[in-house]
């Protein structure tokens, strides 16, 4: 399933589908960096729904104890598929939960690139200087249904979705850059066409690849089969 992608050269670790299991992994990766004396910071992403899970608590708790160089980034889109935030937790912010782990919880406007950048920069510096983890909550929204099979009209209004569409981070960054005089039509077109060609190339590559042979079903269970 494409959702489990990874890319070792960029240290992007394979993810699974159970929620929050990646959080302790990130703590372990950061722990290893600390033991090996590497100047590396680990970042891990999850939704606000993950903060209800045991692995969220267990991972953040342990990370706080060992001051692991790790940044926990919660993309709070306010829904666990259909369940709204107020049915997931009794606190207004996921960031509030950080106080139980002994490190800062920072609330950001997740649709403001620069606000997120500022929080990330501080968290990276904190991790690098040995002060330990940061929990960053990015308030954002999922402007499309959860999946192709998800009827979002059962749990949210069109008005709400439209309202969030107007807060799109790309449009907001453009407005900001225009105001600063560092935007041009030419620049936008260039960025867009570069991005499109990367996506088009990847799509072509995937479409032209032959489907895996049935004989590959049994590969990569253990190292022996990979030889």
């Amino acid at each position: 399933m494409p959702g489990h992608y990874s890319y070792k050269p960029l240290k992007i670790v394979t993810g699974s589908s159970p929620i929050a299991t990646q959080i302790p992994h990130a703590v372990g990766i950061a722990l290893a960096s600390k033991i090996k004396n590497e100047d590396v910071v680990t970042a891990v992403w999850f939704g606000e729904a993950a903060s209800s899970k045991g692995d969220f608590h267990e991972g953040l708790n342990f990370a706080g104890v060992i001051k692991a160089p790790v940044i926990f980034i919660c993309e709070n889109n306010h829904y666990a598929i259909s369940v709204p935030q107020n049915k997931q937790m009794a606190v207004p912010n996921v960031a509030d939960k950080a106080c139980a782990y002994g490190f800062p919880g920072v609330i950001t406007d997740g649709n403001d690139v620069l606000d997120v950048y500022k929080a990330m920069k501080a968290a990276v510096e904190r991790a690098r200087s040995g002060e330990g983890p940061t929990l960053i909550e990015c308030k954002t929204y999922r402007i499309v249904p959860h999946s192709s099979d998800d009827d979002e009209s059962r749990y949210r209004t069109k008005v709400e979705v439209e309202e969030w569409k107007r807060k799109g981070p790309i449009e907001r960054l453009r407005t900001y850059m225009q105001a600063q005089g560092i935007w041009s039509e030419e620049f936008e077109n260039q960025v867009k066409s570069e991005a499109l060609s990367i996506v088009d190339d990847a799509t072509r590559f995937a479409e032209q690849a032959s489907p895996p042979s049935p004989s590959s079903l049994l590969r990569h269970v253990f190292a022996e089969e990979a030889k």
Partner: protein
């Protein structure tokens, strides 16, 4: 050669391996300052420091989850789950993560780690300090399950597990810890291969397959029956996954009778897998019903001595089962 208990062997092997390979870290509850509730990690934190022998919060999923992360970042973690009974909160991390990471990343990532875990009954540990968990985990491709019963095999299999590039669940029968002593060669990094059973007693009448403490009880039973003219062959499976079918089938080819002994309750237990292999691949050899002697289907081993004794197979129950089979 030195004569050692199982627990001394584990401790000494961990010590030697940590001296040899600085990637190895140990993490778990009470493994550092206290040296483990059974003493398996005694003195290790003193020697290797608190960043290689880490006392963790009491959180099994985090112990395994962070061990997975450390492995992904080039260390070689040996997490300890204090009792097998408490491994269940880490089931998701072991089964959905550690065992599947190689497969789901098409071989790009692997998790080299050894989960050490005391299991088994017979020490009055009651419901939550006596459990057998092997059947849950032998069902999982991508995970190896090892259950040695002697100091020699503990040392040899622990080294093989450490060298294995995939996750290994290393089950240590807690009653063997101080009860079972044996010779362990010193100054040699000898290994016992994963996936190889061992014929620990030759016999021609009945094959007995066991692992952990039940190997020793089966040997006692076999020795008792020798006086009655029944010669049982006893096989220590040593590794449950991958299972050594060849040794199992070679034995039943000779005896035509199979008894599988384990502590875990019978339904869906590991004995069912051994029985199924014999039934499907050794059918022609068989001269009696493939028999399982196992715990009853009750939720766990009770505290009262009378009930613990009633639950567990023992020398006499095993001898009786062998006698019954030998009649065919």
């Amino acid at each position: 050669m030195a004569t050692k208990t199982v627990i001394q062997t584990i401790r000494d092997t961990l010590f030697e391996e940590m001296e040899r390979d600085e990637r190895i870290i140990i993490l778990g509850e009470d493994v550092g300052l206290a040296g483990g509730v059974f003493g398996a990690t005694k003195g290790l934190q003193e020697r290797f420091g608190e960043w290689r022998v880490i006392d963790t919060p009491l959180a099994e999923s985090a112990i395994i989850g962070t061990a997975i992360g450390a492995a992904l970042n080039g260390l070689l973690p040996i997490p300890e789950i204090q009792f097998a009974d408490f491994i269940h909160p880490a089931f998701d991390q072991i089964v959905n993560e550690a065992a599947r990471i190689r497969y789901r990343s098409n071989g790009a990532w692997n998790v080299q780690m050894v989960i050490r875990c005391p299991w088994g009954g017979g020490i009055h540990g009651a419901l939550y300090h006596s459990q057998s968990v092997e059947a849950f985990f032998t069902h999982v491709p991508g995970l190896k399950v090892v259950a040695p019963s002697t100091p020699y095999d503990v040392a040899g299999l622990l080294r093989s597990s450490i060298d294995d590039p995939d996750p290994v669940l290393f089950l240590e029968h807690k009653k063997t810890y101080r009860l079972i002593k044996g010779e362990v060669p010193e100054g040699s990094r000898f290994k016992v291969p994963i996936g190889k059973a061992k014929v620990v007693r030759q016999g021609s009448d009945v094959s007995v397959f066991a692992y952990g403490l039940m190997v020793h009880q089966s040997l006692e039973a076999a020795n008792l029956l020798s006086n009655e003219g029944i010669e049982a062959e006893v096989i220590d499976l040593r590794t449950l996954s991958p299972l050594d079918k060849e040794t199992i089938l070679n034995s039943v080819a000779k005896t035509g009778k199979a008894l599988i002994v384990h502590e875990d309750n019978i339904t869906g237990g590991f004995g069912a897998e051994v029985a199924a292999i014999i039934a499907s691949e050794g059918f022609e050899y068989m001269d009696g019903p493939i028999t399982r002697l196992a715990g009853p289907d009750v939720p766990a081993i009770p505290f009262a001595s009378t009930l613990e004794e009633a639950f567990l197979p023992n020398t006499y129950k095993i001898a009786e089962a062998i006698r019954n089979l030998a009649k065919y």
